[in-house]
Symmetry: C2
Subunit: 511 residues, 2 copies
């Protein structure tokens, strides 16, 4: 390596210092949000909203302003002159920062403000519309969001399809055509499976799920298992209660997950906690050399979801898991466990049933809820579907895929918060995460020692495999690169379909 002039390291170091500060500002804003959802006294809400908006604005201003621009350009010039330490990490940092910078600077302030206002208005209208089963009330607000989202795709630019620009915010590098192809394959191979399960009939007894399981016992046992099985330790994490469960974190050793307790429906908090544990352990596994930089978080929503679903479903809803942990859960809730067994709980928490609500859906039906939303979003963006036609389009697809028709829009097209918050292009990441979870699991199990551990419901080697192949990279690799390099294949539905066929073929005794 040629000698590096004194000024050389300075440009990257200066940029990195500024990115550190911007990361700190973002994490402080995340803390304001976590605190709002879990700790804050209610009267503080109005000012808290102003504070969060103000710091979001400040961060955007500081990131897109002249100082960051010139630091970034100086660092890039230094990189191009070959004067850096030449580390891959520096190259990755420059590439991702440039990507974020270019995206952030494409949006004029007046557009950001208009979108923010439209989202705020639409969110309030959605709450009212959902409460009153009144889609017509929400429609004009959604029209406005849709118009702005179309405008957004033009501002951002795209090559093949305007929806690519929306997807790219959540799943960098993934294209609409690719999602379309993967979903078509998934639909074609799992719809027959679902129909066979429904045809097989279901004589199971699921009343165990609604038996009393005290909240404190749910909390203790779910956290104890999260620690032992999944590695979530109190030294770097905590669990709180919030209306809508989520995971957030302010550094790789400061993980916050939330849940809610229903004493007569324990799967909500148990599987919810293990789901959020998957998200948290991803953030915990990000390399410490990426600390306080834009690289220090998960690669995408889809990769994140692959980790939460892997812990929640592929492990937490496995037979081996319940064989190992049933005694512990039973000891925590004797009333619930009376007359039950590992096998009976395993069956109960894996019931397949076409239903109306996405967040309550099982592993087999869940993806149909997502495909439906993806198809509708595409038609909206392409202008093939009018907002007014949404309820009919929704209900028709629900009937087609799941054989059920929502008795009301509240239980149909109005059920999700996403569109009212301007989130379009987001839903597909849930299913991409499901698919990737099985694809990663299949790849990890190719190592016999890992497979043997998993079959004993021990996950130390699996977690280390995930850390090395997924977590450590943070945002240094794209979701596509992670899938290819960890599993040897591009993201696809094969592993997930095989997983569903094996598991539910057994449970429902299909031929």
């Amino acid at each position: 390596m040629t000698s590096v002039p004194e000024t050389a390291t300075t440009a990257i170091a200066d940029l990195r210092r500024r990115l550190n500060m911007l990361s700190d500002l973002g994490n402080a804003t995340a803390l304001l949000h976590w605190d709002m959802e879990t700790q804050m006294p209610p009267d503080a809400a109005r000012v808290r909203g102003l504070q969060m908006a103000s710091l979001d604005g400040l961060r955007h201003e500081l990131f897109t302003g002249a100082e960051t621009r010139s630091l970034l350009m100086a660092a890039e010039a230094q990189g191009q002159r070959g004067e850096t330490q030449g580390s891959e990490l520096e190259a990755d940092l420059l590439r991702v920062t440039r990507r974020d910078f270019d995206k952030a600077t494409k949006l004029p302030t007046h557009f950001v403000e208009a979108l923010s206002q439209a989202q705020s208005d639409a969110h309030h209208a959605w709450i009212q519309a959902r409460a009153g089963n009144d889609f017509a009330h929400f429609a004009p607000f959604l029209e406005r969001i849709l118009g702005l989202k179309r405008q957004y795709t033009e501002l951002m630019g795209y090559q093949d399809h305007p929806y690519d620009a929306l997807l790219d915010d959540y799943e960098p590098g993934i294209k609409t055509a690719q999602v379309r192809a993967i979903f078509a394959d998934l639909r074609e191979r799992t719809l027959p499976l679902l129909r066979r399960i429904v045809a097989a009939g279901d004589a199971g007894d699921y009343t165990v799920l609604t038996r009393l399981f005290p909240a404190q016992a749910q909390r203790e046992v779910s956290l104890r298992i999260a620690a032992e099985a999944f590695g979530l330790l109190p030294g770097f994490s905590r669990l709180d209660v919030s209306a809508h469960p989520f995971q957030t974190n302010f550094s790789a050793d400061d993980l916050r997950i939330t849940t809610r307790f229903d004493e007569h429906y324990f799967p909500m908090s148990l599987f919810g906690t293990w789901h959020e544990t998957g998200h948290a352990m991803y953030e915990h596994g990000v390399g410490r050399d990426l600390e306080r930089t834009p690289l220090s978080s998960g690669a995408s929503l889809g990769v994140h979801e692959s980790q939460s679903r892997l812990f929640e479903n592929l492990l937490g809803r496995s037979r081996a898991f319940w064989q190992r942990y049933f005694p512990e859960v039973a000891a925590a809730a004797p009333e619930m466990a009376a007359g039950q067994s590992a096998e009976s709980i395993y069956r109960a928490v894996n019931r397949v049933q076409p239903s109306l609500i996405r967040v309550e859906a099982d592993e087999v039906t869940y993806n149909f809820h997502i495909m439906l939303r993806f198809e509708i979003e595409l038609e909206l963006i392409e202008g093939k579907l009018e907002v007014a036609g949404l309820p009919a389009a929704w209900n028709a697809r629900m009937q087609e895929y799941l054989g059920v028709t929502p008795p009301s829009d509240t239980e149909g097209v109005l059920q999700d918060i996403h569109w009212s918050s301007g989130l379009m292009g987001y839903f597909p990441t849930y299913s991409l995460g499901n698919l990737l979870s099985a694809q990663l699991m299949e790849a990890a199990r190719r190592e016999p020692a890992i497979a043997a551990e998993i079959d004993r419901a021990e996950y130390g080697l699996l977690r280390e495999w995930l850390r090395v192949n997924v977590h450590q990279y943070g945002r240094r690799r794209t979701p596509g690169q992670i899938a290819e390099e960890a599993t040897g294949q591009p993201l696809n539905a094969d592993a997930y379909v095989k997983y569903l066929e094996g598991k539910y073929g057994d449970i429902y005794r299909l031929e």
Copy 2:
């Protein structure tokens, strides 16, 4: 009023928007701190320290930078041209902002960094020195702090005494000479009182204070009384546990207080909680028109302490209070209350006893701990005392004022965190707060309806009087103005001396 040009309101409004953002940034940093002390998982500490330092630096940079300067100058020019709405609030905002700005810009960055580093080093050295009773280990670090503090007084400037520049950070407008005179008067009038109390002897039985009082019961009863008596409601506040109790807040309706529980020494959490409640209710009473501006907090540490001491001591340690609340406290802790009465608890929580540790001192001896520290700080700043001579100077004064000599420096000169954190000029505010608490109480009681309520341990009218005469102004008035306008007198020791003589003359049956 003459017509206001279009540009006129803009300058003040622009400045105010920037001050809002700086306030939001400060409150976010305060939340990082609160979270660190009360919620954060331990492994997060290292990065949290970096985050807080980074955001403190950002705020300083944004406040002292060119943009704030030009916004401030434009707003001031507009004010001088008489083009503002002419409101007093705007004038106050400009005056206080200018004061803060001038102080903040007097310190070169390298000085701020050197002080920050010296404080961090000294703090660690102090922890070791205190643990090992090794003043010599701490001495060189304190030398460095002292040198920087002397330099600080030169950078800030002063008219009469360098210590004025230190005092001014915590008690704007108060001068060394004034504190010296007030303390001399206080010493002269309360040292004889203390000697008479000690001479009277004390046959009281204080074992009740160490009887079992379960932590949860302490929490519930102290909060219930804080709500009923002092107005601290869960809608805008919460209580958490921390190693060192404190109050912080992120808006006037987002108050956080902390305490710690000793099941065998209930006064710590009960009086501690009511103390922090006094701080919190001060912030709650600040005018909502000052929201998210530099005016929106207490006027000074001394005025703050007057509110906490008023609730904790003048109300919480009063006979009327215990006559009213003894049954409630007794019901919460039957084991503690067995054979006790309102009067016996009143006596127990008002025991006077010269002792070594400031934070455990009673109302009569507390101020001597402060005077001692004030005198030593003056001698250090004036160069009359060397750091090496501190333990001897400390012990001599302890003997002179309180008749006790610390058996170790750990229980003597090393007991407080303040000097290791660079806090000099801070201690006097504790006593100034004590004096002001009595002065305000005396003024409020001049209204017969208020006095009648207080004598029944009802504080609604008193709290409203405090809100109107103290709280609402935030930083719009100086501590001196608040004392003068609320009580008709400059801050002085009269009311406090009278209060001590009346209360303890009765308890100790002095002639």
